[in-house]
Amino acid sequence: MSNTPVLAVNNIEAVYGGAILALRGVSLTVNKGEVVSLLGANGAGKTTTLKACSRLLGAERGEVTKGVIELNGEDISKLNAFDIVKQGVVQVLEGRHIFSHLNVEENLLTGSFIKNMSRAEVRRSLDYVYELFPRIKSRIKTPGGLCSGGEQQMIAVGRALMAKPSLILLDEPSMGLAPQFIEQIFEIVKRLNEEEGVSFLVSEQNAMVALRYATVGYVIENGRVVKRGSSKELLESTDVAEMYLGGGKDVSFDEVKYYHRRQPSFV
């Protein structure tokens, strides 16, 4: 694992519709070959951060107003979503966003258009995806919309893989999935990371699973990164344990009312 950053987010601020401040100081780094997790509750800014990196924010009338995002050392503020994918960074959207009227194979094919691949190459990529996810191979002709949630997540990841990415931005893969599927998805993440050297930035609410597979984690709260550490450190930290893992210690609710976690302003 070398230490060249693939993606470097430097103190960005993001605004929706010119008015709603969604991010107010997010910095993070994804090094080559790393699996980085981005933890946080609903509305903390995980998705916005990922969309800022993939330049999909514009499609939701959002924009990055401050800070710099660098991809392989280059500022991406002038690029559009298409360029980002072209450079090998693909986002797997939260809620999967399968093309519901396209069948499974067509869904996968759409991912390959970015690279001008020959028929044989496309076939090889398809076979690779089917090998990773044998379950969807049996449903090639089924409309994507009729597949189960777990299958859809597999299609979404498979579709991203068709573009032969070097970095995948994976947005809440566990959302609405059975534990067995969550485990399966993360096993694939691990395998792609180890075999193909694909880097990952995974946003998750399910910190337990995410930290088990990631090397580094960031905790994001109210649009700010409030904590950074190796997965081990985060798992041991009491804050994280209380917030995302539950338990930790017995909580006295009288005290909770007056309890505020320290939010360090980001340096």
Binding site: S54, L56, G58, A59, E60, R61, A81, F82, I84, V85, K86, V90, Q91, V92, L93, H97, I98, F99, S100, H101, L102, E106, L109, T110, G111, F113, I114, P143, G145, L146, S148, G149, R159, A160, M162, A163
Partner: protein, 315 residues
């Protein structure tokens, strides 16, 4: 009682050779609407917008072509020039109106096409003129006896309608193959399904829309030519084509083959209504609203049309 009696005679007349003739003739005349409907569907399918300016684009194309031929430009040269002009207009609409409004509310996009409609109307009149022009494409308009081919079928069919049907069928088949079997076609379907996801996998939205609008421009031209030959080129053209609306409601807003089927149904029902049931509804001229009534009844039974994509939702 009287109404009932006239209904009975109407139905009795319907099941005769004459009834069949009206039915077939109606279906073929409905193809004219299919030609327009294809343009509507193409834009709707890829961007979710109902293109109100379709009729004016059609008029603009026909007017450009006519004005060129009237200035002694060779038929095929005029044809080529108009094609180029329509592609450019399509691209300009996409670049200056649709693209800046991408990701906005669909209603804003629709209203923008209303604006485009009036702009093009003015541009057409300003560039050319507002007189009524005749077009003669040399398509034979005389009717033929089907019995010459199928001996027992002793009915008359217009050659012109047959020609229009062949053109429409050609376009539908061509577009269907394009959507089903090419990369661009698949990208188009992906875009119509989910804008966000298609951007996430790197489908260039702008390029796809540019293609759609360019193709729409050409389709408008072809439809415009055939309509112009039948009606002559004038402003009635912009409204005549609104009959494409019930057609796509019946066929399904997102289905190209649906345009053909919808056109056949609207055409047949229109003519049958006019000829056999007009008396029941108080006289001739019902065909103007009959088509919309047919569409209404259809929507009540099948809200997404015959081939329209039904929302797939998992529970």
């Amino acid at each position: 009682m009287e109404i009932l009696a006239s209904l009975v005679t109407a139905f009795a007349d319907l099941f005769s050779l004459f009834g069949l003739e009206v039915f077939v003739g109606g279906m073929l005349s409905g193809i004219m609407y299919s030609l327009v409907a294809i343009g509507f569907v193409l834009v709707y399918k890829s961007s979710g917008v109902f293109n109100f300016a379709q009729g004016t684009m059609l008029l603009f194309a026909a007017l450009t072509f006519v004005s060129l031929t009237e200035r002694q430009v060779n038929f095929w040269v005029a044809f080529a020039i108009t094609c180029v002009v329509m592609v450019i207009i399509g691209l300009i609409i996409e670049r200056t109106v649709m693209r800046p409004l991408a990701n906005q509310d669909l209603l804003s996009l629709f209203m923008a096409t209303v604006g485009v409609n009036y702009f093009l109307e003015g541009l057409a009149q300003g560039t050319w003129d507002s007189a009524v022009h005749g077009v003669e494409l040399g398509i034979p308009t005389d009717p033929v006896f089907v019995s010459e081919v199928i001996p027992w079928l002793d009915i008359l069919v217009s050659k012109f309608d047959g020609f229009a049907a062949a053109v429409a069928l050609g376009m539908v088949v061509g577009l269907y193959l394009f959507f089903q079997y090419t990369r661009t076609g698949l990208s188009l379907r992906a875009v119509s399904d989910d804008h966000m996801a298609s951007q996430a996998v790197g489908i260039p939205l702008a390029k796809i829309w540019a293609i759609v609008w360019a193709v729409t421009g050409i389709i408008c031209f072809i439809a415009g030519l055939i309509w112009a030959d039948r009606l002559s080129v004038s402003f009635t053209l912009t409204w005549a084509v609104l009959k494409g609306l019930p057609v796509i409601l019946i066929g399904g807003l997102t289905s190209i083959p649906g345009c053909l089927v919808g056109g056949l149904i609207i055409g047949a029902s229109e003519k049958i209504g006019e000829i056999f049931f007009a008396d029941v509804f108080g006289g001739q001229g019902i065909e103007h609203w009959w088509a919309y009534l047919t569409a209404l009844v259809f929507i009540l039974i099948r809200p997404t049309g015959i081939f329209g994509e039904r929302d797939i939702e998992r529970i």
